[in-house]
């Protein structure tokens, strides 16, 4: 059975890349889904999607933080 949160995390992660405000939600959804899948002992699928959503969310957050730091330093 596929974990429902995995697809949600993937969609949020991909959307967070152009819309950075979604990054925390993608990270939260991806991390929760991945933990559930690992804890299920193989009953739940979707680890790749959950991980992809988590990674995309982290990239989006890192971009947002880097952009903000640049702005604060350069301006």
């Amino acid at each position: 059975m596929r974990d429902r949160g995995a697809t949600r995390a993937l969609v949020l992660g991909l959307l967070a890349l152009p819309f950075g405000i979604l990054a925390p939600f993608a990270i939260w959804a991806g991390a929760r889904s991945w933990r559930r899948i690992r804890a299920s002992g193989g009953d739940l699928r979707g680890a790749s999607s959950a991980l992809a959503g988590l990674v995309a969310g982290l990239i989006a957050l890192a971009t947002f933080v880097a952009g903000t730091i640049y702005w604060l330093v350069a301006s």
Partner: protein, 559 residues
């Protein structure tokens, strides 16, 4: 395994094409060496560039490295507004030769631009003309450029040269195009920009909401199609800019190019509009015209992601300034709507702000009337200070491309905007030079009377405020100065080392006070033939002051 690889690739590509890619492309411009500028042909006036003092605010500088302040106005006479499909006034330069000036057409919004207009600008102390032009006139058919129109622009550049003025050639648009179609509340006399073939509305209705010409579904769609390079129309726009840049690549009177006036976001939301579409577009324009290679090599002809650069179009123009407008929402609301990331490794970038506090800011949009408004919350410095921070983050100089208002509000709006320009050492171009209409039109002059005349009298309050004493060039980019238009008093405080280049202060004919100096400076006052005075202040080492005493301000009398 394949599914994982596909997912990883999807994340990578989406990241590359959105903010992570945009940020990397942007930051990469900070470590890319700027192009070497060879000395251009000797020009009068001298070539300008953007100086980048370490840790300081970039500024427009001359060939001696002195900060240059440009004061000017914007005549809108070369624009093609609707509903007509031809320019209002002749584009053939011969119609303006030997001092001839076509009759004003009251049906249009703006009188023709003639040689006397530039002389009148120079008499007010302006050293700049911001010259808006329409893409629809320049490239009426796809790939066919209007050489006569280029000759007309060159004619105005020649007039400016004779008066030692600079020209910004500004690719202008308002609500994308006057080919968006007619409809409820649509007044195409306020639309200009793209030619018919580049206006792709996809059948969206043309209807204006909330009395704002941009809030029109057809304008949203056509604009969005431009930003996403539908049918290669953005490529055509870049090619049109390249045609202009090629024509004027050795012309120092042309100080630079306004790349795109008041960019509207279309269906895209900020900050993604600016960071992922608008500023990457600017980067591509500079790649194409200057030959710098920012961004990744990409395709063209359809949507180009933010990380994409653009091919070198062979112009290799590295001596002109690029005036970049922020998105229209930022320009008219006083607040940044984007991250303010560096755009290009090309060093001659200027952030062009449109300062319309009270007119398009929240108070104005809520119907509040000056002076009884609850805005700006941080004083007039709010919008300007944000703009200065944006410019510095982008490593760009700051210039106020437009500001203007109903003449009744001059004591509040115009007065304060000019004070901010002084405070931020920013040049400006006042909107607009002349305008048909009534007592509330925004021109520097009263509406024409009789209607076929070029204009009425110069508006007294505007002459008082805009014909100012100001430093045209200075070797001290941290100087402070203040002009009081009520009595003409002026004071400039600066520092200099012995041997520094002179600071030149312009004193218009209207100002009659005595000129003096104090501190480590020698001054020479030159009486000019038009009644103005130029003060040449040579530092001898240390702080100094140049001042004009209070006196009578003699405004032009009207017959």
């Amino acid at each position: 395994m394949i599914a994982r690889a596909v997912l990883a690739l999807a994340v990578f590509l989406v990241a590359l094409f959105t903010y992570p890619g945009a940020l990397l492309a942007s930051l990469a411009t900070r470590v890319t060496p700027p192009p070497g500028a060879t000395a251009g042909p000797a020009g009068v006036p001298p070539w300008l560039h953007v100086a980048h003092p370490s840790g300081g605010m970039p500024y427009i500088a001359d060939d001696q490295g002195r900060l240059v302040l440009l004061h000017g106005a914007t005549p809108a006479s070369l624009l093609e507004f609707g509903p007509s499909t031809t320019p209002l006034y002749p584009t053939d330069p011969s119609a303006y030769e030997l001092g001839h000036c076509p009759a004003n057409l009251p049906a249009g919004r703006y009188p023709p631009l003639c040689r006397d207009d530039l002389s009148a600008m120079a008499a007010l102390g302006f050293n700049l003309v911001r010259l808006p032009i329409s893409w629809s006139v320049l490239e009426p058919e796809r790939g066919r450029f209007n050489d006569t129109f280029l000759d007309r622009i060159a004619q105005i550049v020649d007039w400016a040269r004779a008066l030692r003025m600079y020209v910004i050639v500004d690719m202008h648009q308002n609500a994308f195009s006057h080919y968006v179609g007619t409809g409820e509340s649509v007044d195409l006399r306020y639309n200009s920009g793209a030619p018919r073939w580049a206006t792709i509305t996809d059948g969206f209705p043309s209807r204006v909401y909330n009395k704002q010409r941009e809030i029109n579904p057809a304008v949203f769609e056509a604009t969005t199609n431009f930003w996403y390079d539908r049918d290669g129309i953005q490529d055509e726009y870049i090619a049109a800019l390249a045609v202009i840049a090629h024509r004027f690549r050795n012309e120092s009177v042309v100080v630079g190019y306004g790349v795109y006036n008041e960019p509207w976001l279309g269906w895209t939301l900020p900050p993604g509009f600016e960071d992922l579409l608008l500023f990457p577009f600017y980067r591509r324009v500079m790649d194409a015209i200057t030959g710098v290679r920012d961004g990744l090599p990409c395709w063209s002809g359809f949507f180009m992601p933010a990380v994409c650069g653009y091919r070198d179009l062979g112009i290799h123009d590295v001596r002109h300034l690029m005036f970049l407008d922020t998105g229209l929402l930022r320009e008219v609301t006083d607040f940044p709507t984007h991250l303010g990331m560096p755009v290009s490794s090309y060093p001659n970038v200027v952030l062009g702000l449109h300062a319309y506090t009270h007119i398009y800011t929240p108070d104005g949009l809520l119907g509040q009337k000056v002076p009884n408004t609850s805005y700006p919350w941080g004083g007039y410095d709010q919008g300007w200070d944000w703009a200065a921070r944006e410019a510095k983050a982008m490593d760009a100089a700051l210039f106020i491309e437009e500001f203007g208002n109903d003449p009744r509000d001059d004591p509040l709006i115009l007065h304060n905007q000019l004070l901010e320009a002084e405070r931020h050492l920013a040049g400006f171009a006042f909107w607009t030079w002349k305008e048909n209409g009534d007592a509330h039109s925004w021109g520097l002059f009263d509406a024409p009377n009789p209607p076929t005349a070029s204009s009425g009298c110069i508006r007294e309050q505007r002459e008082r405020l805009l014909a100012r004493v100001y430093p045209r060039v200075t070797a001290d980019p941290t100087l402070t100065y203040h002009y009081d238009p009520s009595d003409g008093r002026f004071a400039l405080k600066a520092r200099g080392r012995s041997g520094d280049s002179t600071t030149v202060v312009y004193v218009p004919p209207e100002v009659t006070g005595q000129i003096s100096s104090d501190g480590a400076v020698r001054i020479v006052v030159s009486d000019e033939t038009d009644g103005s005075r130029l003060v040449f202040a040579s530092p001898t080492g240390g702080p100094f002051v140049v001042a004009v005493s209070p006196g009578r301000v003699t405004l032009t009398s009207c017959p």
